[in-house]
């Protein structure tokens, strides 16, 4: 039986620090083509989580394998 080896660098693996932005009360305005609060204020002007790891609420940060997904490359 072989012994499992964890790569040295991967021993530091930890849950990513995700800071999520609230989307409560936010709706899509198909005319303006952006998200806004009920009073028409654009969502992006509200308090936003200062995070590279979930800015787009997709759990993807800068440091993902292919954030600029281009499968047809």
């Amino acid at each position: 039986m072989t012994t499992a080896t964890t790569p040295f660098a991967a021993r530091a693996a930890a849950p990513p620090c995700l800071v999520t932005t609230s989307i409560e009360g936010v709706t899509w305005n198909s005319e303006r083509q952006l998200n806004e609060y009920a009073d028409g204020t654009p969502w992006h002007t509200g308090d936003m989580a200062a995070s590279t790891t979930d800015t787009n609420l997709d759990g993807q940060g800068d440091d993902v394998s292919d954030p600029y997904y281009a499968p047809a490359s």
Binding site: R11, A14, P16, C17, L34, S51, T53, V64, Y68, A70
Partner: protein, 326 residues
């Protein structure tokens, strides 16, 4: 069609703050916009394009049921991390994967084939621009200082590097990405300090990326777009955030900084080298005030920088997409 009537395509997820910011700026400039997520193709978005036998160039139509854009009229494309094409559930598995690849390839490459269209950024260029080993070479060629670095699967080479540097070392992934160790949330390998005494044969299991740890007065998320350069500072107040600020957002104070002329010049050269106009760069500023390049994220996040600092990054995107700057 007049130049002013030519639309900008925003290809992004619907819930994307950066895309919202850019659309808002374009709306204020009365620039026509068609925004859609690539994930809506082919189920909600309809695409038809034709190519003649002798005359170069695709002509055709994109239609999302609410807006229609002729491909030949497109002025610019903001390709902002869209989702992948979504194939209907009625298509069984082996065919669905094939169909998804067909859809992805068609949408991106038809847009990429349009002549004279401005991009932020063409993802074909991003793919090359994203990789860290090439970035260090390009950055130094462009006049930037980078950390002394070693990529190896040889523990002896790692120990020799540590001896040569004779100062604290960090380890970071060569390539980003999550580590799906558990069934729940995937893990992330952040930049972390390492003790050379602990180097062992597990280094042989894959490539490892070691660097000298750079002393930091603070860090900078430098956002460059369309020739404009913005410096957002990150002053960290915990050891964890100091090592990799992405691991401890609670201990970061945001601000702005002027970017020295020689850094602006180097960043512009760096972007030109890769043929891209946008980059979210990470720099350390040493206690002596020297700027040290860590990496560039060619599709990096920036909405939080504008949101926290007021730097007019979205406006710079809009100016470029509109055609106001070179």
């Amino acid at each position: 069609m007049t130049a002013a009537a030519r639309p900008v395509l925003i290809v992004a997820e619907q819930l994307d703050a950066a895309a919202d910011m850019v659309v808002d700026q374009l709306n204020q400039r009365d620039v026509p916009v068609m925004r859609f997520d690539a994930a809506t193709f082919p189920q909600q978005l309809t695409l038809s394009a034709g190519h003649a036998s002798a005359e170069p160039g695709w002509t055709g139509v994109l239609d999302d049921g609410r807006r229609t854009t002729r491909l030949e009229d497109v002025r610019a494309v903001y390709w902002r991390r869209p989702g992948r094409s979504t194939i209907a559930d009625t298509v069984p598995k082996p065919y669905a994967a094939w169909a998804q690849n067909q859809a992805d390839a068609a949408l991106l490459n038809l847009l990429a084939a349009l002549p004279g269209v401005r991009w932020i950024n063409n993802p074909h260029h991003d793919r090359i621009a994203a990789h860290k080993p090439q970035q260090l070479t390009a950055a130094t060629r462009c006049g930037l200082r980078v950390p002394r670095s070693l990529i190896t699967n040889d523990p002896a080479a790692a120990r020799a590097f540590a001896k040569q540097v004779d100062a604290p070392l960090i380890c970071k992934p060569v390539l980003g990405g999550r580590l799906p160790v558990d069934e729940g949330r995937a893990l992330m390998v952040a930049t972390h300090h390492v003790d050379p005494e602990e180097f062992d044969d597990s280094i042989r299991s894959t490539a490892h990326y070691f660097q000298e740890a750079i002393g930091k007065a603070h860090e900078v998320r430098l956002v460059a777009v369309g020739g404009r350069v913005f410096g957002g500072t990150l002053h960290t107040t915990s050891e964890q955030a100091r090592t990799d600020w992405r691991t401890d957002y609670e201990h970061i104070e945001h601000g702005t900084t002027p970017v020295p002329d020689h850094i602006v010049h180097s960043v512009r050269r760096f972007l030109a080298y890769y043929g891209i106009v946008f980059g979210a760069f990470d720099f350390a500023v040493t206690p002596d005030g020297e700027w040290v390049f860590f990496e560039n994220n060619p599709a990096g996040t920036w909405a939080w920088v504008e949101n926290r600092t007021g730097l007019p990054i979205a406006a710079a995107h809009a100016e470029y997409l509109q055609g106001g700057t070179e």
